[in-house]
């Protein structure tokens, strides 16, 4: 049931949100409109004039392999990040949800990797994984995992996997804190009752924690997917989409097309199509979330 100002005085409510809407229209809506207009033109270098070409760019992008290959890599990137980050974050959140000395400090320090600037993250990992003085290769050799230094960004598969690990290392604390917030909302008496009934730790997790964490996971799934999908900086700085385009996700493709290939309209077309895909995903996910809430 809706109550309050939104129902009693919709105009006043609209006035309150109008500045935010105007701001969003200016910083998001206007560039999007410009991108849509550009996608129907043939502009090359930014700042030059172009002529109207209708749907030529859309047909060319959708008919070519470049867009779909990059979309496939973006899908691998998103799923990989979701899996690794969820696993890491859930484990850490469960630990931080316990009571032990120093838990408050641990909860604060966990966000350290998240607040480190991207360029610092990239420099740290470049150095750690380097074969010329990096620490990871010697450690793996000493542990007997490998017998000679390996290039973590040398192969197609290794490159994507390394990027996913680095990006997950950076972002999992954020996910962990969100999960921790979700965990703290689960009433403790449920666990007490389960204990009295003799439920094991695994049972308590599968029957109480996991189901009651679903709303949080769903929100994180939507937000995390959108955030991951749009990650550009880490990928560009570490591999620039290589080797051999193995990590060229859609944001990297858009940047390369616009600012390396000087095909601004083509890049705008990929951007518009990507936006449509993401909007479609957000719409479906929001509906699924609403349906899930209604079901409860």
């Amino acid at each position: 049931m809706r109550t309050g100002i939104a129902m009693s005085n919709p105009r006043l409510a609209f006035l309150f949100v109008a500045p935010a809407l105007a701001f969003l229209a200016a910083v998001l809506g206007w560039p999007l409109v410009q991108a849509i207009i550009l996608s129907f033109q043939n502009v090359g270098v930014i700042g030059t004039a172009g002529s109207w070409v209708g749907f030529d760019n859309h047909v060319s992008v959708l008919g070519g392999l470049g867009f779909w290959n990059a979309f496939g890599r973006s899908a691998i990137w998103v799923v990989g990040n979701a899996a690794v980050q969820t696993a890491l974050a859930l484990g850490v959140a469960l630990i931080l949800n316990q009571k032990f000395p120093g838990v408050r400090i641990a909860r604060t320090w966990i966000i350290l990797t998240w607040i480190v600037p991207t360029v610092v993250v990239v420099i740290i990992w470049r150095w750690l994984l380097s074969t010329s003085g990096g620490m990871v290769n010697p450690l793996l050799i000493q542990a007997g995992v490998i017998d000679r230094p390996v290039g973590f960004f040398a192969t197609r598969e290794g490159s994507m996997a390394s990027l996913i690990m680095i990006n997950s290392w950076r972002w999992f604390p954020f996910t962990a804190l969100m999960m921790l917030a979700g965990l703290t909302r689960i009433p403790s008496d449920l666990y007490e009752a389960a204990r009295i009934d003799g439920a094991s730790a695994i049972k308590r997790f599968t029957r109480i924690t996991w189901p009651l964490l679903q709303p949080t996971l769903l929100v994180l799934g939507i937000v995390g997917t959108l955030l991951s999908f749009n990650v550009f900086d880490v990928i560009w700085l570490l591999t620039a989409g290589g080797p051999s385009q193995a990590t060229q996700t859609l944001p990297v493709l858009i940047y390369e097309t616009a600012f390396k290939g000087y095909r601004l309209s083509e890049a705008a077309t990929v951007s518009v199509l990507t936006s449509l895909l993401l909007m479609g995903f957000a719409l479906l996910a929001t509906r699924a979330m609403t349906a899930s809430e209604d079901a409860r």
């Binding site: 270098v45 700042g47 030059t48 074969t131 230094p149 620039a240 080797p243 600012f259 390396k260």
Partner: protein
């Protein structure tokens, strides 16, 4: 009469005051020399110039190479572009393509007669009947090594590809790599691959009519040799940029590398023993007799249509190339930036720098190598606009990755490059 005189005197004094306090011509100068010590040296030079020319005020705004390709065209489109802009040849074609650069024919002629340009440094900026930028400094790839390592392995400085490969194999012992060659899809790889292409006679990537001539036996031969040497490189060299190669050399993990200069890294992070640091021309194909290399002449474009600003900017550029000032400009990064003028190459202000003095023989070799420098897309006297996109998309490096990462043959990788370049040239 008295009133008129007073009025005239008052008007005259107002005019004089106006003249005395008139605003200087402001020049905004974008360059991509971001490291703090380079910015500081540039500021010292600008302060000196501005003091000596009170009617001109040159202000620097450092940019990054990573952003300027997108930022400069956007700034010109928005009317907020600089008046002077640093550039390399392919970037100049982009700025020329949006009609933001002004020819500097007269100034180039004047500077040529006064200082004498090294031909390889100005040639990439002379096409379509004009000179589009004034060369500022040169950079050329050389082969770097340690004399002590060569001596210990019983190796002579390699002059041919076969000798280089044999040397690299000998140096690849005890966890060390005989050579460090990048295979990243990045400009550094474009440069090192092209350094080999020049040495097999594959320097022209365009035909006279603008069609692509990348796919030829000489290019395939360069790719084959590069691939063989790359196998002796560290496994992470597929993600290398210039810094990683220098680090590999500084840590003595790599026996030989191709680099513009390692002097700064060697001086600050390695042995700093000038007697042990070796530099030589890039080895050439076995059937060639002379070494060449890739050279990047960095130049300054005039990017203002305002005549007063053009005159002020030209005054600044002429001042900068004066030998007394030019050496200090070059030594903002000692041992990396090479002179583009004949009198600059002899300037006391250049050779008196402590680092240049310490590594004098190395710098002399670098300068000698730079005179045989070439740049892809700028070798035939004709420049085609597609070179900006070919260079920007690192097509040479991408083609190499087809061989190094995907396992294609050299011939197939070169064929891919030909196709990709032709696509770009056709768009």
């Amino acid at each position: 009469m008295k009133t008129r005189l007073i009025a005239f005197a008052g008007f005259a004094s107002l005019l004089m005051a106006g003249t005395a306090y008139s605003e200087p011509v402001n020049i905004t100068f974008w360059h991509m020399e971001q490291p703090p010590h380079r910015v500081q040296r540039m500021q010292e030079l600008l302060d000196e110039f501005n003091k000596a020319h009170p009617d001109i005020m040159v202000k620097q705004e450092p940019q990054s190479w990573g952003e300027v390709y997108a930022k400069a065209p956007a700034a010109f489109a928005a009317g907020t572009g600089p008046d002077l802009l640093f550039g390399i040849p392919d970037f100049t074609t982009v700025i020329k393509g949006i009609d933001a650069v002004v020819p500097v024919d007269d100034l180039a002629k004047e500077m040529e007669s006064k200082h004498g340009f090294v031909p390889a440094t100005i040639a990439p900026y002379q096409y379509d009947g004009h000179t589009w930028a004034i060369p500022a400094y040169n950079m050329a790839i050389s082969m770097w090594y340690r004399n002590s390592e060569f001596k210990a392995a019983g190796i002579e400085v390699p002059k041919t590809w076969s000798e280089w490969k044999a040397a690299a194999e000998k140096l690849s012992v005890d966890g060390k790599y005989g050579v460090g060659l990048p295979a990243n899809k990045q400009l550094y790889t474009d440069q090192t691959v092209y350094a080999l292409m020049v040495n097999s006679g594959a320097q022209d990537i365009y035909n006279e009519d603008g069609s692509i001539s990348f796919d030829k036996p000489e290019t395939v031969s360069a790719f084959e040799t590069y691939g063989a040497l790359q196998k002796l490189s560290p496994p992470d060299s597929t993600s290398w940029t210039w810094g990683e190669a220098e680090a590999c050399f500084a840590s003595a993990t790599c026996g030989t590398i191709l680099q513009f200069s390692v002097i700064n890294t060697y001086e600050t992070q390695a042995e700093a023993d000038p007697a042990d640091l070796g530099v030589a021309p890039v080895p050439h194909a076995d059937d060639m007799t002379e070494s060449g290399t890739i050279s990047y002449s960095n130049a300054i474009m005039l990017t203002t249509k305002d005549e007063a600003k053009q005159a002020a900017a030209k005054t600044f550029l002429a001042w900068l190339l004066e030998p007394a000032n030019y050496g200090r400009f070059l030594t903002m990064e000692p041992g990396l930036f090479l002179p583009v003028t004949n009198d600059g190459a002899e300037a006391e202000s250049f050779w008196s720098d402590p680092v240049v003095t310490k590594y004098k023989s190395q710098v002399e070799t670098m300068i000698a190598n730079s005179k045989n420098g070439k740049l892809f897309g700028f070798t035939t006297g004709k420049v085609f606009p597609s070179i900006g996109a070919i260079s920007g998309q690192n097509v040479i490096a991408e083609s190499l990755q087809k061989m190094v990462v995907d396992g294609d043959s050299a011939a197939d990788a070169v064929k891919y490059g030909q196709q990709k370049m032709s696509e770009i040239a056709g768009k």
